[in-house]
């Protein structure tokens, strides 16, 4: 344990004024109802306003998704598993469907691949906007947060036209997608939305990403290096902020990504600011990918495989076997491992939530020495999605 005198000396060296407290350390339960922790609970051991020790305390969202999935027919699991990560519900749908496709040996039609790729990218843009909202609120820049929420609303409306639901889409199914895109009008609206969001990015830069106050709050906190991040299994923007150019879309290409042109932004500082900037750059790349997809246009053909097994969904069976599929989500490498024993329900489904790596052990280590005001900022810069951990 760091002694109090050391903490005070360190704080003074950093230009902060601290009252020398004579009391012992105290325990602070942070979350799960605290709005800054997003349904996650951390037990903090505090000395003054410094964190001495942090213990991640998950379990408040646990609903046993994996066990429930063993009791449901293959197709109804989509409606269950997408609830794992609310800001980005299309990702669990996609990985589960891709794993089932692989077990059956289905080649998804081109049109379905185009739609799936577009939906995944729309989900990424919407999740990044959601994240900007969270970060802005935690930094106190409420204006930017409200803008981000409003722009995300445009994507929600498009999702509603496409899938019939705003948040829980239940759209990607094994073999393709549930229904076809509504028509050219929808594509035009998507194009307008992409342009609109891109035109608003400089505003976010001015208010958050190039803001002096935001830089002071983000720079140099929660630093991790490349080797440490890899050993701890960190993926996604958090890993790329430490200098490892690992992106599932590039490393293990799926859907239409091999045909698309995009960059994987990499920074090497590994602090909260680098993680925030990586996400800002990726948002731009995702909009660029959507541009290319819209330019390409949806290929003609069926939007799901034509297979007699799809006619009777409750009795739909999948041959025995297992498969692992993963995609790049805004949180990192999101994977699903599915085992079938040939019956009409899965034998075992395990979801690999990316947050389990950076939301438990990494968080416990990065929080040590941070100020209490930095705790929500570090949590947000890691982009922790608690249901990934609880499942």
């Amino acid at each position: 344990m760091v002694s109090q005198n050391e903490l005070i000396r360190e704080a003074r060296e950093n230009g902060m004024d601290l009252f020398p407290l004579d009391k012992d350390t105290y325990e602070l339960f942070f979350g799960p109802q605290h709005m800054a922790t997003e349904n996650f609970s951390i037990i903090l051991k505090m000395d003054g306003h410094r964190v001495v020790k942090a213990i991640a305390n998950p379990g408040f969202l646990h609903r046993g998704f994996e066990k429930l999935a063993e009791y449901r027919p293959w197709h109804t699991n989509i409606a269950l598993l997408l609830r794992i990560c609310v800001p980005e519900p299309d990702v669990p749908e996609a990985i589960y469907s891709m794993a089932v496709d692989e077990i059956i040996g289905w080649e998804v039609p081109e049109r379905a691949q185009w739609i799936r790729t577009t939906v995944l990218e729309m989900a990424r843009v919407s999740a990044y906007l959601f994240w900007i909202m969270g970060l802005s609120f935690k930094l106190g820049v409420y204006t930017a947060g409200q803008w981000a929420a409003a722009y995300r609303e445009r994507l929600m409306a498009l999702f509603e036209q496409l899938t019939g639901a705003r948040v829980y889409h239940i759209y990607t199914i094994p073999g393709g997608v549930r229904r076809d895109i509504p028509g050219d009008k929808w594509l035009r609206q998507l194009k307008d939305t992409v342009e609109y969001i891109r035109s608003k990015l400089p505003d976010f830069d001015n208010l958050v990403f190039e803001n002096y106050v935001a830089h002071r709050r983000l720079e140099g906190i929660g630093v991790m290096d490349k080797k440490f991040a890899l050993a701890e299994g960190v993926t996604g923007p958090n890993l790329r902020a430490t200098g490892v150019p690992y992106d599932v879309r590039m490393a293990d290409p799926y859907l239409l990504y091999p045909e698309l042109d995009f960059e994987v932004p990499v920074l090497k500082e590994g602090d909260a600011l680098a993680r925030a900037l990586i996400r800002r750059f990726e948002l731009e790349q995702d909009l660029y990918i959507l541009d290319q997809l819209l330019e390409m246009g949806p290929p003609s053909g069926p939007y799901k495989v034509e297979d007699p097994r799809l006619k009777n969904l409750p009795r739909f069976k999948v041959p025995a076997g297992d498969a692992f599929a993963h995609v790049e989500s805004t949180k990192g490498d999101f994977g699903a491992y599915v085992v079938s024993d040939g019956k009409h329900k899965p034998y075992r489904v395990q979801i690999r939530g990316p947050s389990i790596a950076h939301g438990v052990r990494i968080l416990e280590q990065l929080l040590v020495g941070a100020r209490i005001a930095d705790v929500p900022v570090i949590l947000m810069s890691l982009d922790n999605c608690p249901p990934d951990i609880d499942r």
Binding site: G59, H62, L68, G233, F324, D333, R352, I356, A357
Partner: protein, 177 residues
């Protein structure tokens, strides 16, 4: 034909098997390889994988096979260098006192979390992981029930815990909760 098509993966498997004669390995498809090893060699094998640039541990999956009396542990590894996913399968006995396997948290620190998960839900004891006894996701009343095992009776548990929710019919052939 498969070997010609996935030459890079086959070379990787051969290279690893050369140093691990106790293991069996094969190529599943492009960028997917698979090994099965005896449970007591898990540490040696994962150390070998780490030397061969498998930097990331994606997860540890536990699958219950009550008919065989075994639990299957699948260590899912990803190599950023080789761009390949490796599944390392091993089987251990299902009995609670025999379901033990050495921890790998000193090789891949992230394994600690997955091992706690597997301990909570399947009752696998990872020797050397000091956080085994620490409470994880389940409530105190649920400790020791191992809800992900196939013989865990979820219906009885749900009826007992949520007395008001008496809507499940046992005679129904194919209920969906």
């Amino acid at each position: 034909m498969g070997e010609v098509k996935w030459e890079r993966e086959q070379m990787l498997v051969d290279k690893i098997l050369e140093k691990a004669p106790y293991a069996e390995g094969k190529v599943r498809r492009e960028r997917r390889i698979e090994f099965s090893i005896p449970a007591d060699r898990i540490r040696d094998f994962l150390m070998l994988l780490k030397e061969n640039d498998f930097e990331l541990m994606l997860q540890i999956t536990t699958v219950d096979w009550p008919n065989d009396g075994e639990l299957e542990l699948i260590y899912q590894m990803w190599s950023v260098t080789h761009r390949t996913h490796a599944m390392v399968r091993t089987r251990i006995p299902r009995d609670l006192d025999k379901a033990r396997i050495p921890t790998v948290k000193d090789i891949y620190p992230v394994a600690e979390t997955y091992e706690r998960d597997s301990h909570d839900f399947f009752g696998v004891y990872f020797e050397g992981n000091e956080k085994m006894e620490m409470p994880w996701i389940l409530d105190d009343t649920e400790q020791g029930l191992f809800p992900h095992r196939k013989d865990f009776d979820m219906l009885t548990y749900v009826k007992k815990k949520y007395k008001l929710l008496d809507r499940f019919d046992e005679d129904k052939d194919n209920y969906v909760i």
